[in-house]
């Protein structure tokens, strides 16, 4: 029992880093421009298909493919920002929700036409790592390491580089940032780009672990919502912690009750936190 529990916790933690990475993209965008990106899931799905095509069809190593996918994710984000997001930033909230959802519908619609809704698999294995009684597939370990590295890079960017600081400045006070000579529109577009880059990378990592369809993004999008709310909307560090909490929960809960209760618990928790502690468990601000 204890061993099983430990294995579940480790499993959950490894997955949690990827969840956290995905949620970070969502929370970054919200933190900077108060837009809840409802196209987050489909963008993740595109990341999955990106890795699939680059590795299975073009023979690239999946992890190398991730780099290309990241670049494409950035470009995709910039395009989405320019077409659907920029114009509704000052409009009521409903507008941004609907605009990003319309992007969601378009990606899912086109994606279904191209890829159908049948499952795809990135077939690829690197053996396992044994830690005493616990056996971990290297895929999972590598994904978690990459997710951690990407998180660290994001933090380095946001806290140590001038454009990163400028993005934080814009997120805190857009007018004041303009007054300091910071081109706020460029920074907003850049953060949307980074947000969707993180989504595609997280999607790509998921693709190296599980089979997926064009609709798979939706599940991860919902998980990202839960995580983001756990960690506090707009707080990237919180997203990482939230991701780990969710990962561990998903690992541990099935040890005690049926797996099908997991989403009920997740979503009830989500609504409860929104109600009781909307600033998130970490209590930013």
């Amino acid at each position: 029992m204890l061993e099983q529990l430990l294995a579940s916790v480790i499993d959950g933690l490894l997955l949690g880093f990827i969840y956290g990475l995905a949620a970070m993209g969502l929370t970054l965008i919200f933190g900077v421009m108060e837009v809840i990106n409802l196209a987050h899931g489909p963008i993740m799905a595109l990341g999955m298909f990106g890795v699939y095509y680059l590795s299975m069809e073009m023979g690239l190593n999946p992890y190398l493919a991730l780099i290309l996918v990241a670049v494409l994710g950035m470009v995709l984000g910039l395009v989405i920002y320019g077409i659907a997001v920029h114009r509704i930033l000052d409009a009521p909230e409903l507008s941004s929700l609907l605009a990003t959802f319309s992007v969601n519908m378009m990606i899912i619609g086109l994606g279904t036409a191209f890829f159908t809704t049948s499952p795809y698999n990135v077939e690829f294995s690197m053996g396992s790592l044994s830690l005493g009684p616990i056996i971990l597939p290297w895929n999972r370990v590598a994904s978690a390491i990459i997710a951690v590295a990407a998180t660290a890079l994001l933090y380095f960017f946001l806290y140590r580089t001038p454009p990163g600081k400028a993005i934080r400045a814009v997120s805190q006070n857009r007018d004041a940032a303009e007054l300091m000579g910071i081109p706020s529109t460029t920074m907003l577009a850049l953060s949307f780009g980074i947000g969707s880059m993180l989504a595609t990378v997280a999607g790509g990592l998921v693709a190296t672990l599980f089979s997926f369809t064009i609709l798979s993004g939706a599940t991860y999008e919902l998980k990202s919502f839960v995580i983001v709310v756990l960690g506090g909307l707009g707080n990237p560090a919180g997203a990482l912690v939230g991701g780990l909490i969710l990962g561990v929960m998903e690992g541990v809960i099935p040890v005690f009750i049926e797996t099908s209760w997991v989403p009920v618990i997740e979503m009830v928790l989500f609504v409860l936190i929104l109600l009781v502690k909307p600033q998130g468990l970490l209590g930013a601000k």
Partner: protein, 288 residues
């Protein structure tokens, strides 16, 4: 025609909370699904008549909204919208686990039951007329709300909730009432629809994307107007059935609907009615 009447009912009732009160519910389908499930259970497992069960479906959906609303209507803007998504998914996952609702496989009817209503064909007509009546009652209710003191209170909340409180509007009460009312009709519609289909399962009952399609319909016609949701529902349904039957577009139905939504949001945020109203003052008075 069934689905047209259904979407008119859904869009008009959503409009009460979305258009009049200004609260964006991304999970309004929850009331259709939950009310429908309860009614269907009463018919298929407890032998209730369709009429009683339909009423029960509406009432339980309203009660759900009352409970849910008294909690989540405290949230503002995006937080409210997110919580409705959460509630929707939670409910679907919950029903999946409830054995007397049949879990993931759902419930189905013994087809002999249609004999009580004059055979399957007759029953279908019966449901059609009932649904027609329901759609009509929903639109009439929407009209009555719009021109009542209650409706004025809701619109004051939509315009400025803080100012509403200062004016003496008991905002928590009114919001909850509006939410509850807007859940009643979808609950009944759910029972009728599942009864017509003869079965229900969680994935049919709580499709998140339909919640958002409802919002599109309301927006397309014009939120906050009586006729807007009706026109929007009609137009959207027309478009969807055209796309679904066209060889060229049938795979791209969703993408085109998405594009349409984006165009509305970017260029015509007040919908068809809003656009017409802004053309002329005369029309404004007619097109409430």
């Amino acid at each position: 025609m069934f689905s047209l009447l259904l979407v008119i009912t859904m869009a008009s009732s959503l409009n009460i909370i979305l258009g009049y009160t200004g609260y964006v519910s991304f999970g309004h389908i929850i009331f259709y699904g939950f009310g429908g499930y309860v009614g269907f259970y009463l018919i298929s497992q407890q032998g209730w008549s369709l009429w009683l069960a339909t009423l029960a479906g509406g009432i339980t959906a309203s009660l759900l909204a009352l409970m849910l609303g008294s909690a989540i209507l405290r949230l503002k803007g995006a937080y409210f919208a997110l919580s409705t998504i959460g509630a929707n998914v939670a409910m679907m996952a919950f029903i999946n686990n409830i054995t007397f609702f049949g879990g993931p496989t759902g419930l189905s009817l013994n087809y002999s039951i249609y004999q009580d209503y004059g055979g399957p064909a007759q029953a279908k007509w019966l449901i059609f007329y009932t649904l027609f009546g329901l759609a009509l009652v929903t639109v009439i209710t929407s009209f009555m709300v719009k021109f009542s003191k209650f409706g004025l209170g809701l619109m004051v909340i939509r315009e400025d909730e803080e100012a509403a409180k200062v004016l003496g509007v008991r905002t928590p009460l009114l919001k909850t009432q509006a939410y509850s009312l807007s859940a009643f009709f979808p609950g009944m519609a759910g029972v009728l629809f599942f009864f017509k289909n003869g079965s229900v399962e969680p994935n049919d009952a709580f499709p998140l994307h339909q919640s958002i399609e409802m919002i599109v319909m309301v927006m397309l016609g014009g939120q906050g107007t009586v006729l807007g949701p009706v026109i929007g529902a009609g137009a959207y349904e027309q478009l969807r059935s055209y796309l679904l039957t066209s060889d060229l577009f049938k795979d791209l139905q969703l993408a085109i609907a998405g594009l349409l939504l984006l165009l509305i949001v970017l260029f015509a945020p007040t919908g068809v009615i809003g656009w017409l109203r802004s053309r002329s003052n005369e029309l404004r008075r007619i097109l409430e």
